[in-house]
Protein backbone atom coordinates (compact mmCIF):
# COMPACT_ATOMS: atom_id res chain seq x y z
CA UNK A 1 0.00 0.00 0.00
CA UNK A 2 2.85 2.33 0.82
CA UNK A 3 4.10 3.96 -2.38
CA UNK A 4 7.66 3.29 -3.42
CA UNK A 5 9.68 6.25 -2.40
CA UNK A 6 12.43 6.47 -4.95
CA UNK A 7 12.72 6.19 -8.69
CA UNK A 8 16.26 4.80 -8.34
CA UNK A 9 16.88 1.56 -10.15
CA UNK A 10 19.94 -0.43 -9.06
CA UNK A 11 22.30 -1.31 -11.89
CA UNK A 12 25.83 -1.11 -13.21
CA UNK A 13 25.62 0.82 -16.46
CA UNK A 14 28.04 3.68 -17.28
CA UNK A 15 25.41 6.18 -16.14
CA UNK A 16 25.10 4.39 -12.82
CA UNK A 17 28.84 4.62 -12.32
CA UNK A 18 29.11 8.29 -13.30
CA UNK A 19 29.49 10.72 -10.41
CA UNK A 20 26.27 12.24 -9.11
CA UNK A 21 27.60 15.80 -9.13
CA UNK A 22 28.66 15.49 -12.77
CA UNK A 23 25.31 14.10 -13.81
CA UNK A 24 23.42 16.85 -12.03
CA UNK A 25 25.68 19.58 -13.40
CA UNK A 26 25.21 18.32 -16.95
CA UNK A 27 21.47 18.18 -16.41
CA UNK A 28 21.41 21.73 -15.04
CA UNK A 29 23.46 23.05 -17.97
CA UNK A 30 21.30 21.14 -20.44
CA UNK A 31 18.21 22.64 -18.81
CA UNK A 32 19.54 26.12 -19.44
CA UNK A 33 21.09 25.26 -22.80
CA UNK A 34 18.01 23.94 -24.57
CA UNK A 35 16.16 27.15 -23.88
CA UNK A 36 18.88 29.21 -25.53
CA UNK A 37 18.73 27.21 -28.75
CA UNK A 38 15.84 27.34 -31.21
CA UNK A 39 17.08 25.38 -34.19
CA UNK A 40 15.73 21.83 -34.54
CA UNK A 41 19.04 20.86 -36.19
CA UNK A 42 20.71 21.19 -32.77
CA UNK A 43 17.80 20.16 -30.59
CA UNK A 44 17.12 16.99 -32.60
CA UNK A 45 20.48 15.38 -31.84
CA UNK A 46 20.16 16.54 -28.22
CA UNK A 47 16.86 14.73 -27.86
CA UNK A 48 18.40 11.69 -29.56
CA UNK A 49 21.31 11.78 -27.13
CA UNK A 50 18.93 11.95 -24.17
CA UNK A 51 16.99 8.99 -25.55
CA UNK A 52 20.18 6.98 -25.96
CA UNK A 53 21.20 7.87 -22.40
CA UNK A 54 17.84 6.68 -21.14
CA UNK A 55 18.03 3.43 -23.12
CA UNK A 56 21.57 2.80 -21.86
CA UNK A 57 20.10 2.49 -18.35
CA UNK A 58 18.47 -0.77 -19.44
CA UNK A 59 15.26 -0.29 -17.53
CA UNK A 60 12.83 -3.18 -17.82
CA UNK A 61 10.46 -2.09 -20.64
CA UNK A 62 7.37 -2.35 -18.46
CA UNK A 63 8.79 -0.05 -15.82
CA UNK A 64 10.09 2.34 -18.45
CA UNK A 65 6.64 2.55 -19.99
CA UNK A 66 5.16 3.35 -16.59
CA UNK A 67 7.69 6.14 -16.00
CA UNK A 68 7.08 7.58 -19.44
CA UNK A 69 3.29 7.74 -19.47
CA UNK A 70 3.16 10.91 -17.34
CA UNK A 71 5.83 12.79 -19.32
CA UNK A 72 4.32 11.67 -22.60
CA UNK A 73 1.02 13.32 -21.82
CA UNK A 74 2.94 16.58 -21.44
CA UNK A 75 5.02 15.77 -24.50
CA UNK A 76 1.91 15.28 -26.59
CA UNK A 77 -0.18 18.16 -25.26
CA UNK A 78 2.32 21.00 -25.25
CA UNK A 79 3.53 20.75 -28.86
CA UNK A 80 -0.07 20.16 -29.94
CA UNK A 81 -1.06 23.42 -28.28
CA UNK A 82 1.92 25.17 -29.86
CA UNK A 83 0.96 23.81 -33.28
CA UNK A 84 -2.61 25.02 -32.93
CA UNK A 85 -1.86 28.46 -31.53
CA UNK A 86 1.41 29.10 -33.32
CA UNK A 87 3.38 27.47 -36.09
CA UNK A 88 4.45 23.90 -36.74
CA UNK A 89 8.08 24.98 -36.45
CA UNK A 90 7.51 26.21 -32.89
CA UNK A 91 5.80 22.94 -32.08
CA UNK A 92 8.85 20.98 -33.24
CA UNK A 93 11.24 23.17 -31.24
CA UNK A 94 9.12 22.97 -28.10
CA UNK A 95 8.61 19.24 -28.47
CA UNK A 96 12.32 18.53 -28.90
CA UNK A 97 13.22 20.75 -25.96
CA UNK A 98 10.84 19.01 -23.59
CA UNK A 99 11.80 15.61 -24.98
CA UNK A 100 15.49 16.29 -24.26
CA UNK A 101 14.82 17.51 -20.75
CA UNK A 102 12.33 14.88 -19.68
CA UNK A 103 14.32 11.94 -21.03
CA UNK A 104 17.65 13.17 -19.67
CA UNK A 105 16.17 13.97 -16.27
CA UNK A 106 14.57 10.53 -16.12
CA UNK A 107 17.87 8.87 -17.06
CA UNK A 108 19.67 10.70 -14.24
CA UNK A 109 16.89 10.07 -11.75
CA UNK A 110 16.82 6.36 -12.51
CA UNK A 111 20.56 5.95 -12.10
CA UNK A 112 21.31 8.11 -9.07
CA UNK A 113 20.52 7.21 -5.48
CA UNK A 114 18.38 9.76 -3.67
CA UNK A 115 21.00 9.95 -0.92
CA UNK A 116 23.66 10.84 -3.51
CA UNK A 117 21.51 13.60 -4.98
CA UNK A 118 20.85 14.97 -1.50
CA UNK A 119 24.60 14.90 -0.78
CA UNK A 120 25.23 16.97 -3.87
CA UNK A 121 22.48 19.42 -2.91
CA UNK A 122 23.88 19.72 0.59
CA UNK A 123 27.31 20.52 -0.84
CA UNK A 124 25.70 23.09 -3.13
CA UNK A 125 24.01 24.68 -0.11
CA UNK A 126 27.21 24.90 1.90
CA UNK A 127 28.41 28.24 0.47
CA UNK A 128 25.01 29.66 1.39
CA UNK A 129 25.54 28.60 4.99
CA UNK A 130 28.05 31.38 5.50
CA UNK A 131 25.32 33.92 4.84
CA UNK A 132 23.52 32.40 7.87
CA UNK A 133 20.32 32.06 5.84
CA UNK A 134 20.70 28.33 5.50
CA UNK A 135 21.59 25.79 8.13
CA UNK A 136 22.76 22.63 6.38
CA UNK A 137 22.21 20.48 9.47
CA UNK A 138 18.60 21.65 9.75
CA UNK A 139 18.05 21.01 6.04
CA UNK A 140 19.45 17.50 6.41
CA UNK A 141 17.22 16.85 9.42
CA UNK A 142 14.15 18.19 7.61
CA UNK A 143 14.80 16.03 4.56
CA UNK A 144 15.27 12.82 6.53
CA UNK A 145 12.23 13.55 8.69
CA UNK A 146 10.11 14.24 5.63
CA UNK A 147 11.22 11.00 4.00
CA UNK A 148 10.36 9.12 7.16
CA UNK A 149 6.98 10.75 7.57
CA UNK A 150 5.64 10.55 4.04
CA UNK A 151 4.63 6.87 4.48
CA UNK A 152 3.41 7.71 7.99
CA UNK A 153 1.18 10.52 6.74
CA UNK A 154 -0.04 8.20 4.00
CA UNK A 155 -1.12 5.60 6.56
CA UNK A 156 -2.82 8.20 8.71
CA UNK A 157 -4.67 9.55 5.74
CA UNK A 158 -5.98 6.08 4.94
CA UNK A 159 -6.88 5.39 8.58
CA UNK A 160 -8.97 8.53 8.68
CA UNK A 161 -10.56 7.76 5.34
CA UNK A 162 -11.48 4.23 6.44
CA UNK A 163 -12.80 5.42 9.78
CA UNK A 164 -15.06 7.86 8.01
CA UNK A 165 -16.16 5.36 5.40
CA UNK A 166 -17.12 3.04 8.27
CA UNK A 167 -19.38 5.78 9.58
CA UNK A 168 -20.93 6.28 6.17
CA UNK A 169 -19.13 9.52 5.37
CA UNK A 170 -17.44 9.69 2.04
CA UNK A 171 -14.84 12.01 0.73
CA UNK A 172 -15.48 15.37 2.34
CA UNK A 173 -12.05 16.97 2.08
CA UNK A 174 -12.65 19.12 5.16
CA UNK A 175 -13.57 16.12 7.29
CA UNK A 176 -10.48 14.29 6.02
CA UNK A 177 -7.93 17.05 6.36
CA UNK A 178 -8.78 18.56 9.72
CA UNK A 179 -8.03 15.36 11.66
CA UNK A 180 -4.94 14.70 9.55
CA UNK A 181 -3.47 18.14 10.18
CA UNK A 182 -4.37 18.08 13.88
CA UNK A 183 -2.78 14.65 14.34
CA UNK A 184 0.36 15.83 12.58
CA UNK A 185 0.58 18.96 14.74
CA UNK A 186 0.09 16.91 17.90
CA UNK A 187 2.80 14.43 17.00
CA UNK A 188 5.23 17.27 16.21
CA UNK A 189 5.77 17.86 19.95
CA UNK A 190 6.73 14.24 20.57
CA UNK A 191 8.94 14.01 17.52
CA UNK A 192 10.76 17.21 18.42
CA UNK A 193 11.29 15.92 21.96
CA UNK A 194 12.64 12.64 20.58
CA UNK A 195 15.01 14.45 18.22
CA UNK A 196 16.24 16.72 21.00
CA UNK A 197 16.74 13.75 23.32
CA UNK A 198 19.06 12.26 20.73
CA UNK A 199 20.97 15.56 20.45
CA UNK A 200 20.56 15.29 16.71
CA UNK A 201 21.69 18.64 15.40
CA UNK A 202 25.32 19.03 16.47
CA UNK A 203 25.57 21.25 19.59
CA UNK A 204 27.00 24.19 17.66
CA UNK A 205 23.93 24.41 15.48
CA UNK A 206 21.38 23.83 18.20
CA UNK A 207 19.29 26.27 20.13
CA UNK A 208 19.88 25.52 23.81
CA UNK A 209 16.56 24.67 25.43
CA UNK A 210 16.72 25.86 29.02
CA UNK A 211 14.41 27.57 31.49
CA UNK A 212 15.05 31.18 30.67
CA UNK A 213 16.60 30.64 27.28
CA UNK A 214 13.58 31.91 25.42
CA UNK A 215 13.54 35.27 27.16
CA UNK A 216 17.30 35.71 27.23
CA UNK A 217 18.95 37.47 24.30
CA UNK A 218 20.49 35.10 21.76
CA UNK A 219 24.05 34.13 22.69
CA UNK A 220 26.84 35.87 20.87
CA UNK A 221 27.41 33.91 17.74
CA UNK A 222 30.49 31.74 17.25
CA UNK A 223 33.39 34.17 17.28
CA UNK A 224 35.83 31.39 16.30
CA UNK A 225 35.39 31.35 12.51
CA UNK A 226 35.38 35.13 12.31
CA UNK A 227 38.58 35.23 14.35
CA UNK A 228 40.19 32.70 12.09
CA UNK A 229 39.24 34.72 9.06
CA UNK A 230 40.86 37.79 10.59
CA UNK A 231 44.02 35.81 11.18
CA UNK A 232 44.07 34.77 7.57
CA UNK A 233 43.52 38.32 6.50
CA UNK A 234 46.30 39.73 8.67
CA UNK A 235 48.73 36.85 8.25
Amino acid sequence: MTPRLSLYLPGDTPLHRARADWKLSVLLLAGIGVFLVRSPAVLGPCAGLAAVALLSVRTPPRQLARHLTGPFVVLALVPAAAAVFQSAATAVTVGLRLCTLLLAALAVTLTTRTSDILDVLERALRPLERTRLVNAAAVGLAVSLALRFIPEAFHRFHDIREAQAARGLSGSPVALLVPLAVRMLKSAEDIAAAVDARCYPPPAARHTERGGAAAAPPPARSPAPAGRKDEEATG
Partner: protein, 200 residues
Protein backbone atom coordinates in the same frame (compact mmCIF):
# COMPACT_ATOMS: atom_id res chain seq x y z
CA UNK B 1 5.01 23.43 26.05
CA UNK B 2 4.65 26.81 27.63
CA UNK B 3 6.80 28.48 25.04
CA UNK B 4 4.10 28.23 22.39
CA UNK B 5 1.75 30.36 24.48
CA UNK B 6 4.05 33.11 25.70
CA UNK B 7 3.88 36.02 23.29
CA UNK B 8 7.34 37.08 22.23
CA UNK B 9 8.66 40.20 20.65
CA UNK B 10 10.50 39.77 17.40
CA UNK B 11 9.48 36.13 17.21
CA UNK B 12 10.35 36.09 13.53
CA UNK B 13 13.99 36.72 14.30
CA UNK B 14 14.30 33.73 16.60
CA UNK B 15 16.39 30.85 15.41
CA UNK B 16 14.91 27.62 14.12
CA UNK B 17 14.16 25.17 16.86
CA UNK B 18 13.84 21.44 16.45
CA UNK B 19 10.07 21.73 16.62
CA UNK B 20 10.03 24.14 13.70
CA UNK B 21 12.09 21.74 11.61
CA UNK B 22 9.74 18.90 12.57
CA UNK B 23 6.64 20.92 11.66
CA UNK B 24 8.16 21.87 8.31
CA UNK B 25 8.97 18.23 7.57
CA UNK B 26 5.49 17.06 8.64
CA UNK B 27 3.69 19.55 6.43
CA UNK B 28 6.01 18.68 3.58
CA UNK B 29 4.87 15.08 4.12
CA UNK B 30 1.22 16.19 4.09
CA UNK B 31 1.71 18.04 0.79
CA UNK B 32 3.37 14.97 -0.74
CA UNK B 33 0.68 12.60 0.51
CA UNK B 34 -2.11 14.81 -0.82
CA UNK B 35 -0.50 14.39 -4.23
CA UNK B 36 -0.13 10.63 -3.86
CA UNK B 37 -3.60 9.69 -2.74
CA UNK B 38 -6.11 9.05 -5.48
CA UNK B 39 -7.82 12.35 -6.16
CA UNK B 40 -10.97 13.02 -4.22
CA UNK B 41 -13.55 13.32 -6.94
CA UNK B 42 -14.69 16.90 -6.97
CA UNK B 43 -16.30 16.77 -10.39
CA UNK B 44 -15.34 20.31 -11.31
CA UNK B 45 -15.26 20.85 -15.06
CA UNK B 46 -13.93 17.37 -15.68
CA UNK B 47 -10.43 18.34 -14.64
CA UNK B 48 -8.62 15.70 -12.62
CA UNK B 49 -7.97 17.37 -9.33
CA UNK B 50 -5.55 16.30 -6.68
CA UNK B 51 -5.43 17.94 -3.32
CA UNK B 52 -1.72 18.72 -3.51
CA UNK B 53 -2.02 22.49 -3.89
CA UNK B 54 -4.51 22.46 -1.05
CA UNK B 55 -1.65 21.22 1.12
CA UNK B 56 0.39 24.21 0.04
CA UNK B 57 -2.22 26.73 1.16
CA UNK B 58 -2.78 24.74 4.33
CA UNK B 59 0.93 24.86 5.19
CA UNK B 60 0.95 28.64 4.90
CA UNK B 61 -2.32 29.12 6.74
CA UNK B 62 -1.57 26.76 9.63
CA UNK B 63 2.19 27.10 10.12
CA UNK B 64 2.56 30.78 9.22
CA UNK B 65 4.51 32.48 6.45
CA UNK B 66 8.09 31.41 7.16
CA UNK B 67 7.54 27.80 8.08
CA UNK B 68 4.85 27.37 5.43
CA UNK B 69 7.20 28.63 2.72
CA UNK B 70 9.98 26.39 4.04
CA UNK B 71 7.68 23.35 3.95
CA UNK B 72 7.04 24.07 0.26
CA UNK B 73 10.74 24.67 -0.36
CA UNK B 74 11.36 21.23 1.12
CA UNK B 75 8.91 19.68 -1.35
CA UNK B 76 10.76 21.45 -4.18
CA UNK B 77 14.07 20.14 -2.83
CA UNK B 78 12.74 16.57 -2.74
CA UNK B 79 11.39 16.99 -6.27
CA UNK B 80 14.75 18.15 -7.57
CA UNK B 81 16.37 15.25 -5.72
CA UNK B 82 14.38 12.93 -7.99
CA UNK B 83 11.69 11.69 -5.65
CA UNK B 84 8.26 11.19 -7.22
CA UNK B 85 6.63 13.55 -4.75
CA UNK B 86 4.42 15.55 -7.09
CA UNK B 87 0.88 14.65 -8.06
CA UNK B 88 0.80 11.67 -10.40
CA UNK B 89 4.20 10.44 -9.25
CA UNK B 90 6.13 13.14 -11.07
CA UNK B 91 9.50 14.24 -9.84
CA UNK B 92 13.06 14.76 -10.91
CA UNK B 93 14.95 17.79 -12.02
CA UNK B 94 13.13 17.90 -15.36
CA UNK B 95 10.00 19.27 -13.70
CA UNK B 96 11.58 22.64 -12.98
CA UNK B 97 12.32 23.81 -16.54
CA UNK B 98 9.13 22.08 -17.77
CA UNK B 99 5.83 23.88 -18.35
CA UNK B 100 4.59 23.40 -14.77
CA UNK B 101 7.87 24.38 -13.10
CA UNK B 102 6.70 27.91 -12.34
CA UNK B 103 3.69 26.64 -10.46
CA UNK B 104 5.94 24.40 -8.38
CA UNK B 105 8.34 27.23 -7.50
CA UNK B 106 5.36 29.55 -7.01
CA UNK B 107 4.27 27.44 -4.06
CA UNK B 108 7.05 28.94 -1.95
CA UNK B 109 5.97 32.61 -2.22
CA UNK B 110 2.35 31.39 -2.38
CA UNK B 111 2.51 29.73 1.02
CA UNK B 112 4.38 32.74 2.38
CA UNK B 113 1.73 35.21 1.24
CA UNK B 114 -1.07 32.93 2.46
CA UNK B 115 0.53 32.78 5.89
CA UNK B 116 1.16 36.50 5.97
CA UNK B 117 -2.43 37.34 5.01
CA UNK B 118 -3.85 34.94 7.57
CA UNK B 119 -1.73 36.64 10.22
CA UNK B 120 -2.79 40.11 9.12
CA UNK B 121 -6.46 39.50 8.30
CA UNK B 122 -7.70 36.50 10.21
CA UNK B 123 -6.43 37.09 13.72
CA UNK B 124 -8.24 40.40 14.27
CA UNK B 125 -11.95 39.81 13.67
CA UNK B 126 -13.97 38.70 16.68
CA UNK B 127 -16.71 36.81 14.90
CA UNK B 128 -16.06 33.32 13.65
CA UNK B 129 -17.54 33.76 10.15
CA UNK B 130 -15.39 36.85 9.60
CA UNK B 131 -12.21 34.98 10.53
CA UNK B 132 -13.32 32.09 8.34
CA UNK B 133 -13.87 34.39 5.37
CA UNK B 134 -10.54 36.13 5.92
CA UNK B 135 -8.71 32.79 5.91
CA UNK B 136 -10.43 31.80 2.67
CA UNK B 137 -9.43 35.13 1.09
CA UNK B 138 -5.84 34.59 2.22
CA UNK B 139 -5.81 31.17 0.56
CA UNK B 140 -7.30 32.56 -2.65
CA UNK B 141 -4.73 35.33 -2.92
CA UNK B 142 -1.68 33.34 -1.80
CA UNK B 143 -2.57 29.98 -3.28
CA UNK B 144 -3.90 31.18 -6.62
CA UNK B 145 -2.91 34.76 -7.43
CA UNK B 146 0.71 34.47 -6.32
CA UNK B 147 1.20 30.94 -7.67
CA UNK B 148 -0.30 31.82 -11.05
CA UNK B 149 1.71 35.04 -11.20
CA UNK B 150 4.83 32.91 -11.37
CA UNK B 151 3.36 29.89 -13.14
CA UNK B 152 1.76 31.58 -16.13
CA UNK B 153 4.84 33.47 -17.41
CA UNK B 154 6.95 30.37 -16.73
CA UNK B 155 4.66 28.23 -18.89
CA UNK B 156 4.87 30.78 -21.64
CA UNK B 157 8.70 30.82 -21.55
CA UNK B 158 8.92 27.06 -21.29
CA UNK B 159 6.51 26.23 -24.10
CA UNK B 160 6.67 29.27 -26.36
CA UNK B 161 2.96 29.96 -25.93
CA UNK B 162 2.09 33.62 -25.69
CA UNK B 163 1.20 35.05 -22.28
CA UNK B 164 -2.44 35.28 -23.22
CA UNK B 165 -2.61 31.66 -24.28
CA UNK B 166 -0.92 30.37 -21.16
CA UNK B 167 -3.35 32.47 -19.12
CA UNK B 168 -6.19 30.75 -20.92
CA UNK B 169 -4.62 27.37 -20.10
CA UNK B 170 -4.37 28.39 -16.46
CA UNK B 171 -8.03 29.45 -16.40
CA UNK B 172 -8.90 25.82 -17.10
CA UNK B 173 -7.58 24.94 -13.65
CA UNK B 174 -9.03 27.97 -11.91
CA UNK B 175 -12.37 26.48 -10.78
CA UNK B 176 -10.65 23.53 -9.16
CA UNK B 177 -8.06 25.71 -7.49
CA UNK B 178 -10.70 28.12 -6.25
CA UNK B 179 -12.60 25.21 -4.73
CA UNK B 180 -9.42 23.99 -3.07
CA UNK B 181 -8.68 27.44 -1.70
CA UNK B 182 -12.11 27.54 -0.05
CA UNK B 183 -11.61 24.07 1.41
CA UNK B 184 -8.10 25.00 2.59
CA UNK B 185 -9.51 28.09 4.30
CA UNK B 186 -12.18 26.07 6.11
CA UNK B 187 -9.71 23.38 7.12
CA UNK B 188 -7.10 25.87 8.34
CA UNK B 189 -9.63 27.74 10.46
CA UNK B 190 -10.88 24.49 12.01
CA UNK B 191 -7.35 23.28 12.70
CA UNK B 192 -6.42 26.56 14.33
CA UNK B 193 -9.39 26.27 16.64
CA UNK B 194 -8.84 22.61 17.43
CA UNK B 195 -5.11 22.91 17.98
CA UNK B 196 -3.74 26.42 18.07
CA UNK B 197 -0.01 26.80 17.56
CA UNK B 198 2.19 29.82 17.45
CA UNK B 199 2.33 30.95 13.84
CA UNK B 200 5.41 32.31 12.19
Amino acid sequence: MTSSHTPRRRAARRRMETKDVVLIALFCAIIVVLGLVPPVDLGVAGVPITLQTLGVMLAGAVLGPVRGALACALVVLLTIAGLPVLAGGRGGFGVVPGPTGGYLLGWIPGAFVTGLLVTVLATRPRSRPARQAATVVACLVGGILVVYALGVPWTSVSTGLSLRQSTVTALYFLPGDAFKAVVAGLVAQNVRQAYPIERR
